[in-house]
Symmetry: C2
Subunit: 466 residues, 2 copies
């Protein structure tokens, strides 16, 4: 039964083109169980191909025809072919993380075909250390990045003895009640109906950005608010190409916590300080550091203010804070302090915002890919911000898939026109996992950022005496 | 220095979309030399990355801007990044040909990004038998399929002791004089200027199909000619999707020659008979065999008729013959005889054609992707033909790359709207190599055709007593 495509989801489909694929992904690394045979990856792949029933989210594809009166609708793929979606790949010798990231970079640069359900899962073998990787890619019209990570993690178990476990596209995963099938409404914490009525949106995608801009433009005028758009021009804020580079690594949460404790800042501040310092040193190497601080858009959770907030509804709303990363400051401790202050001011501003402003902010956080090109086209010459840094909490306990221990889980996100770099972090067990996704051409040597993140962590430890 | 894009090349760029990528490719298999270390593939890859100078064909990308007055031009890629074009891949266990074909199928379904030069070369390791594969993909706006195969083979050597050899994109390969840099004019044996003036074409791509159709429509009325379009409807003649399936294998030329000799037919007739029988049995399995024979378009070389033919120019022209494949006949020998007669009649018709008809035919052979959608849109409800079978002569002697013996060379071609299956053969040394490229969804279980090709060869041997 065809169902109409929600305007926000439709926006992601319409905003997509060769240079701006609109999918999110996750890279998970697993350590094979002690009792695994030599063909663990192949067995995982073949079990996936044998999935008896695919969850509805993974069976629907966008279509538009005379019978749908020219409207975009989701239809069930009558010719669903699991072999198209689940793939078995391998890394060339010597099978380092470098070869894995190279493969993930390539996979992430490829647009999903519209004639099929908009997802792929790649089971990847050939890591020299014996680990097996899984790269799972979903179109943003199906789920947002945070929900995608949650979905991938939701099928895992803390029980290392479980076997024959369903993967996220398996209808069993949904039926187990542990996982709720995500929908456009579930996934974004902001109720879309509220968003739409608050902004007086017509039920078509064309209307969303225009209304959004009107509200955002009001925000621009309020310099003190979390919506201030005073970011310098940077190499990240240019038009992008269709190819991607992905880099990822993890650092012990204990190290970040110690810095947080010693400096009386939050864990999130420390993550932002690592990113700020790394980006600073990266840009210095490229002789491209702006004089004033880069500004990051940072999505944050907001406590519901009940009837006080139209956006709040019954649950939690997602807002965004514009954080100055202190890239103009040479001292790591100064940067951390500046970030802490900027985040605090941004959150306070968010608290004082009108419901309409929060709704606009939520929309920006939820659908920056829709909003950014609009902002650029609306006479804001300077970028509204320079990059997006998200920090998504993940599972605190060790997770297993068919006895294979999850050793790391890294979000792969969406660079956009005017926003060539995205950093998304995912905490897991004892680590903070960083996923850096950039345009291959506009963010040269992206993998250097990993080196800088590592040295920045050490520099922060020394600076605050952790 | 930007140069205008030839209308034919531009046609391939404009005809391209997600469901119809317009690139051709070749798959080459190499046996490592006896003295090769364990990292032969990686060394090949790293040497390729170190290429000092890239040949101009492989450096140019299409662009359109105000400075080119809105015209499409080729520009040199100022930010050329060899790592984007040359890639190192591996096959998952168990590393059979099946895993290789699966990877090639996926690679072939991916559109080349317009922001870069339109080619990729993949060096693939992980075959269980130790061989190394190379999949080289070029956009049809750069070269046609035949020229692509010739280009890939041109850099090889009969000398197994040569090392440090250039790959096709290496400027050294062009400078060695053994290889001429292909251009739109060189590559198609039909002089484009002649083609254009004969058909009164305006210098834009929009004009080409319209003029072509006028000439082709004349041909349709001449039932006896090689242009007769009386093909039945078949499962291959439907709209296609963006994903591909590729299958390939080779058979000893001696076996084909023995059948040709015993039946007094040509080697090409035997190739067509293998294809006809295989397609017949494939369609029977799918319960989809049309009552009347399938018709294949078969590009053929034409001897120049000098001033007699406008298309002839000073060289050879390429024409096409519509061949009935005898898929309505149960006996392999009957099919072979029918194909022989059909091909003979088609060639005779071609000889008697007017220069304008030959030009139109040449254009159809050269650019079916442009012509077919036009034919479909011009009221010809039945397909003009059912599939395309090409047979491209390759090198007769054993070829080497850095001491690695070429064991097979398979063309990967372009399925099109209304033409979901393409078979292209390439003779090499002692083998006839078949490359079958189909739409993954519209040509189900494409690999079954390999089984049918094999049993058809045996059936032909028995039928003609070879």
């Amino acid at each position: 039964m065809p169902t109409p495509i929600d305007p926000t989801s439709l926006g992601f489909l319409l905003a997509e083109n060769r240079n701006q694929p609109m999918h999110v992904a996750g890279l998970q690394l697993f350590e094979k169980p002690a009792d695994a045979g030599p063909h663990f990856a192949r067995e995982l792949y073949e079990a996936a191909l044998d999935t008896e029933e695919i969850a509805p989210l993974f069976r629907k594809r966008p279509s538009r025809s005379i019978s749908s009166l020219g409207q975009w609708v989701w239809t069930d793929d009558a010719e669903f072919d699991i072999e198209h979606h689940v793939r078995h790949s391998a890394l060339p010798e010597p099978g380092r993380i470098r070869e894995l990231l190279e493969l993930v970079s390539r996979l992430h640069g490829q647009m999903l075909g519209r004639e099929r359900p908009l997802w792929e899962a790649h089971i990847i073998e050939g890591l020299a250390d014996g680990r097996v990787a899984m790269y799972t890619k979903l179109h943003h019209s199906l789920v947002d990045g945070i929900s995608a990570m949650k979905l991938m993690q939701s099928v895992l178990s803390t029980d290392p003895d479980r076997r024959n476990m369903p993967l996220p596209f398996d209808a069993r995963a949904v039926r187990s009640k542990k996982v709720r099938e995500p929908s456009a409404r579930d996934l974004t914490s902001v109720p879309m109906d509220t968003l739409r009525s608050a902004m007086g949106l017509a039920a078509d995608a064309g209307g969303l950005p225009a209304a959004l801009i009107r509200t955002l433009n009001k925000g621009v005028k309020n310099e003190a608010s979390a919506l201030s758009f005073y970011a310098p021009k940077s190499i990240f804020n240019v038009n992008i190409t269709g190819s991607r580079r992905f880099a990822s690594d993890g650092w012990a949460l204990d190290r970040l916590r110690a810095i947080s404790k010693a400096s009386r800042t939050t864990l999130n501040d420390v993550v932002l300080a690592m990113c700020g310092g790394a980006v600073r040193n990266y840009l210095i190497e490229l002789n491209s550091l702006p004089d004033t601080s880069l500004v990051s858009m940072v999505p944050v959770g907001l406590k519901s203010r009940g009837s006080d907030s139209e956006a709040g509804g019954g649950g939690n709303a997602v807002g965004s804070v514009m954080v100055k990363l202190g890239t103009d400051l040479a001292d790591p401790a100064d940067r951390l302090a500046a970030i802490h202050a900027s985040m605090k001011a941004g959150k306070a501003a968010l608290e004082s915002m009108t419901p309409n402003q929060i709704v606009a902010m939520s929309a920006l956080g939820m659908a920056p890919s829709l909003a950014i090109p609009m902002l650029r086209l609306n006479g804001v010459v300077r970028p509204p911000f320079n990059l997006i840094i998200s920090n998504v909490p993940g599972p605190r306990s060790t997770q297993f898939l068919n006895g294979a221990r999850l050793t790391g889980t890294y979000p792969v996100s969406i660079p956009m026109q005017g926003m060539a770099l995205n950093i998304t972090c995912n905490s897991y067990a004892e680590d903070m996992c960083f996923g850096l996704t950039g345009d291959r051409r506009r963010v040269p040597h992206l993998q250097r950022l990993l080196v800088h993140l590592d040295s920045e962590l050490t520099a922060l430890e020394q600076a605050v005496g952790a």
